[in-house]
């Protein structure tokens, strides 16, 4: 346990350095690459006054290290700039979108995890036979599809043609008027349960299903691949052979013993898949007009809203570093060998 503590401290320190690196890189991208950074920050039709003001605010007439200092202090005080399109502080826009995006990612993640583990274990157990080939092809299909295209196809099939799911959005207009949701956590699925608003809950499930399914395809394929590889390794170990010799049924061996030993890599796979969902969600949301960070970024790109784009990039990258940190710590907790 002492090792674990040291490991956590070391890992947190490392994450801190990485975040500084992320800020450094975004600084270079936004202040050094562009020909005229001030023009980018004020949008498509700037007046000379606006440019002068941006130059002043960002310290663009000062040496680079002073600019970096201004940049960092602004970020640390939560000032990501003001969106050109919405006129809100970028941070508050992000805070609104983040809950919607997270809700989508988490549901997709659950679908990918459960599906990935089941198909992965199944594939490994029938290695090189028909079920394995089938599982692998499904997994490869999952990682080969452009997420936005899969979203469009699902929308076309299940919403437009079969009319089984709503076309877009997060909540039906009628439901949001008759059974309005109070914003407690920002997660519609949770808020509606807290309030006991089952109509809104069902409606939310209805709306989230297709976007989550489209988003789950890539992480699902990734997890199947990792779980399968891990399980095949574990199944070749001698202890698995003795368990078989003792007459344990293969299902117990597979799920109770083998999967437990494959869990550490499974966690890595899931962490990776979560990371992929983060940017996958950006593309997925645009199709389903899901009011999250992806739609926000897409609209910002269309409007040449540079502060909003960079703000979202920084926020999501920082969030990503924290997720990686948590995955590593969780993994060390599950498998003490990691801390060595």
């Amino acid at each position: 346990m002492k090792d674990l503590g040291q490991y956590v401290v070391r890992r947190v320190a490392h994450a801190f350095i990485v975040i500084v690196g992320v800020l450094l890189i975004t600084f270079l991208v936004s202040h050094v690459i562009p020909g005229n950074p001030a023009a980018l920050w004020v949008g498509s039709h700037p007046t000379a006054d606006e440019i002068r003001k941006a130059t002043e605010d960002l310290g663009l007439n000062k040496p680079l290290y002073v600019q970096f200092y201004i940049y960092i202090t602004n970020l640390l005080s939560g000032n990501l700039g003001v969106s050109i399109r919405t006129h809100n502080p970028v941070l508050s826009d992000i805070a609104v979108g983040l809950a919607a995006t997270l809700e989508l990612i988490i549901v997709a993640f659950l679908i990918a995890t459960v599906g990935g583990i089941l198909v992965g274990v199944f594939s490994a157990a029938h290695r090189d036979r028909f079920p394995d080939h089938f599982g692998r092809v499904v997994a490869i299909l999952g990682v080969s599809m452009a997420p936005f295209w899969l979203a469009m196809i699902l929308q076309l099939l299940f919403s437009q043609t079969l009319n089984m799911f709503p076309l877009a959005g997060r909540l039906s207009t009628s439901v949001s008027i008759i059974y309005p949701l109070k914003r407690i956590t920002g997660f519609n699925l949770i808020d509606s349960l807290i309030e006991g608003n089952f109509v809104a809950f069902t409606d939310s499930v209805w709306h989230i299903f297709l976007p989550a399914l489209a988003l789950a395809a890539y992480p699902f394929g990734l997890s199947v691949r990792m779980v399968r590889t891990m399980m095949i390794e574990v199944l070749q170990e001698n202890y698995t052979r003795s368990e078989l010799a003792w007459g344990l049924t293969s299902r117990i061996i597979l799920f109770k013993y083998a999967l437990k030993n494959a869990i550490s890599s499974t966690v890595i796979a899931l962490g990776m898949s979560f990371a992929y969902s983060l940017t996958g969600a950006f593309l997925d949301e645009i199709i389903f007009v899901w009011p999250g960070l992806g739609t926000y970024t897409a609209l910002s790109i269309l409007a040449l809203d540079y502060p909003a784009i960079m703000g979202t990039v920084i926020a999501v990258a920082a969030f990503y570093v924290v997720i990686n940190l948590l995955v590593d710590i969780f993994q060390a907790f599950m498998d003490p060998r990691v801390t060595l």
Binding site: V18, W149, Q155, T240, A317
Partner: protein, 301 residues
């Protein structure tokens, strides 16, 4: 022939035999064969597509306002778009764009990443850890996000999208070359070269880099699939190719306004992306299995 060269030669032979094994596994596995076939077909399309496309002028952007948004038919195999252009022709033209852009992303990323990794792995110490720290910072971004930031800064164009992806892509090869160089650094033939006083710079070029080439080339080929999706994603966000380029990602992007009423518009360009990427991934999966020694033992359950 010096002894050092003899050792180096037997190393090369070993690598050659490994490569042969991998090739045999690929041609005996139906899935990877299918992948290979897909890739070859798309390469052929990329070469001859512009010459056999039924409506080459439309593929390059010329509108035909008499035939807007027509469903697939004998005349227009995949239907027409909102400017009446033949989608099939545009897809044939797009194959070249897709393959060239993704290959440039991966190739330049390898050219930047591989030497850096080899240097970091061989020298170790301060220079090595500095390079790897910087690499880690780039890897700290979720996939596509850094490219999105760079592309948004540079402004939307195909060239800028490729540049943006290179910026976010090279660290992966640095990582790979680094670990390869670490294991090669202490092999006897490298020790021997050091012992007889060969300069470090020459050791890196003649011994470390060649050892990293094979695994990186394999990885780079497999990465082409993800590169194609990445390029298409940037185009989809409006940060890549601009109209009227017959780029697949851009076609899906413009198609999203129309596809609920005109299903063929976005479906076929997306299908082209899917099939090509599938080809690379099918091949990649088999290669990965072939080179992973842990998976080659027999099975129990």
């Amino acid at each position: 022939m010096t002894e050092q060269e003899t050792v180096g030669k037997s190393q090369n032979e070993k690598r050659y035999r490994e490569l042969q094994n991998i090739l045999r596994l690929i041609v005996t596995n139906p899935l990877s064969l299918a992948g290979l076939a897909i890739i070859i077909i798309f390469l052929i399309i990329a070469f001859v597509g512009p010459y056999v496309a039924p409506y080459p002028l439309q593929a390059e952007g010329a509108p035909d306002l008499m035939h807007q948004l027509l469903p697939p038919s004998g005349h227009f195999l995949f239907g027409t778009d909102e400017l009446g252009r033949d989608i099939f022709s545009r897809i044939l033209f797009g194959a070249r764009i897709s393959l060239v852009t993704s290959a440039s992303v991966v190739a330049v990323a390898v050219l930047i990443g591989m030497p850096l990794g080899a240097i970091a792995g061989y020298y170790g110490e301060r220079l090595g850890s500095l390079i790897m720290r910087i690499t880690d910072m780039f890897l700290a971004f979720p996939p596509l996000l850094l490219a999105l930031a760079v592309a948004a800064t540079l402004g939307g164009s195909m060239m800028n999208a490729v540049l943006a992806l290179i910026v976010s892509w090279w660290p992966w090869y640095t990582r790979l070359a680094y670990s390869q160089a670490l294991t090669t650094r202490n092999l006897p033939y490298v020790d021997a070269a050091r012992a007889i006083g060969v300069r470090d710079r020459i050791i890196v070029v003649r011994h470390i880099l060649p050892a990293t080439v094979a695994p990186i080339l394999v990885q780079a080929t497999l990465d082409l699939g993800s590169a194609i999706i990445a390029v298409a994603s940037l185009s989809f966000l409006g940060l890549g190719a601009q109209p009227p380029t017959p780029d697949w990602g851009l076609m899906v992007n413009t198609g999203k306004t129309y596809f609920l009423q005109h299903w063929w518009y976005a479906t076929f360009p997306g299908l082209a992306i899917l099939i090509l990427v599938l080809g690379f991934n099918l091949l990649g999966d088999a290669v990965r299995e072939a080179i992973d020694p842990k998976l080659s033992r027999r099975r129990l359950i």
